[in-house]
Symmetry: C2
Subunit: 254 residues, 2 copies
């Protein structure tokens, strides 16, 4: 569990969870257990997706994958324990100043991001399509949404603010997909760190194919605008991290 | 998920969860989502334990195991989704008449029964000992304890009653182990439905070896008495299911 959880990574979900909590006026300590939980869930999904019977990956973040290091049995169980711990951690470690009904709502949100309508659904589609469909981005978007929404719930946001934050996350998730499609067309494999142009060669419906390259770029710009609009009602200093994250996603080069 | 969850079984954990809820004065509807959750967790642990890299079982309850029917990848994901759904189900479906802090406590209890100090810990020991140690009973006991304790919490029990119910479950869990050891000595394989006498042939420390057969029987009788004593303060009619369950475990012949 430690080996995979502490192997590094950008900690995008935890950071956004804490940022959302602070934006709605909460102290980040209120969402810290949930922030950790989103990273546990993310790590669990990587461990299980890397297994021989799934994507069969030997390396993850430059290290042997969990099953390469500890065997398949232990890797599966490490994932199970991380998933269970994510819920337990939120239930036992969230500060008592957060009202329990918010903790329950956040747990429900986290659960729906994982289960048969969330990460697991994505991996099932991945398997069923034999790699024809890349659902990694969809899976990324679903857990990212949960992280941001849970941060807002635990930070004490009213229902309207929670929905604003959710719409922000949905825009950013879609933006991520659009930018990924654009980069696949415009960047070389070397710059991208993965095989470029593979979308073009496949039957996959991409935004540049649907809207043209300029159209896709305009759509991306629209999405950043819409995402940031959702942040307009909050303290601009506290909204800055989420504001800049949207812009970072829009302008990333790999 | 449906294939394994609805394949039958005795539903011991759900039944005890509901019984504990009613014993402490709650309507069983208060604990019904948690009762279902304990069965989801139990089913998930069976699916993952049956995998080729674990116990490699082809049959479960007379049917092909999940991975035999759907492949290893889908079996792993079905387990993941059931585990996640168990927490989500409790968080979203527990009636609003249960105070949210009780829901949070029950979720924490369920989590601790699964994770690295619960079912997963048991399976890790099982793997590490290469079958030398049979931890199935220990795993059974841990989830049974959580089911009963969660039932009491959701039924509105005060702290003292919750601890009584927990002590009841711990006695019954130990009783189950002691009776299993006794049956291994006294019954033929045919009556038992599994290989009898294998404990005697192995180095395993059993209660008949430690206490003698009569001593083990006296200890079992003591445990039933202690378990039922914990129920003494409750309405006898409502305590009857848990009372009879302890006696059933003590007198079972296979």
């Amino acid at each position: 569990m430690r080996y995979s959880l502490l192997a590094g990574g950008k900690r995008v979900r935890p950071v956004l969870c804490l940022a959302a909590c602070e934006m709605v006026g909460g102290d980040q300590s209120l969402a810290l257990p949930m922030a950790c939980a989103t990273e546990m869930v993310h790590t669990m999904s990587l461990i299980h997706d890397d297994l021989p019977c799934m994507d069969d990956d030997d390396l993850r973040r430059g290290l042997p994958t969990s099953h390469k290091k500890y065997g398949e049995d232990t890797a599966i169980l490490a994932g199970d324990a991380l998933l269970s711990l994510s819920f337990e951690h939120v239930a036992t470690r969230t500060p008592s100043s957060v009202s329990p009904d918010r903790v329950v709502r956040a747990i429900a949100e986290l659960g729906s991001a994982v289960g048969s309508a969330g990460l697991v659904a994505g991996q099932i589609v991945d398997i069923a399509s034999e790699g024809d469909v890349d659902v990694t981005l969809e899976k990324t978007a679903r857990l990212l949404e949960a992280a941001v929404v849970c941060g807002a719930i635990l930070g004490g946001a009213d229902d309207e603010s929670v929905e604003k934050v959710r719409r922000y996350a949905l825009r950013v998730g879609l933006l991520f997909q659009v930018v990924d499609d654009i980069l696949d067309v415009t960047r070389s494999s070397e710059e991208l760190g993965k095989t470029a142009g593979k979308d073009l060669a496949s039957d996959k419906a991409t935004y540049p194919k649907l809207l043209g390259l300029d159209g896709a770029r305009r759509f991306a710009a629209e999405l950043v605008g819409q995402a940031c609009e959702e942040l307009a009602g909050f303290d601009p200093v506290k909204a800055a991290p989420l504001y800049h994250f949207a812009n970072y996603i829009a302008t990333r080069q790999n």
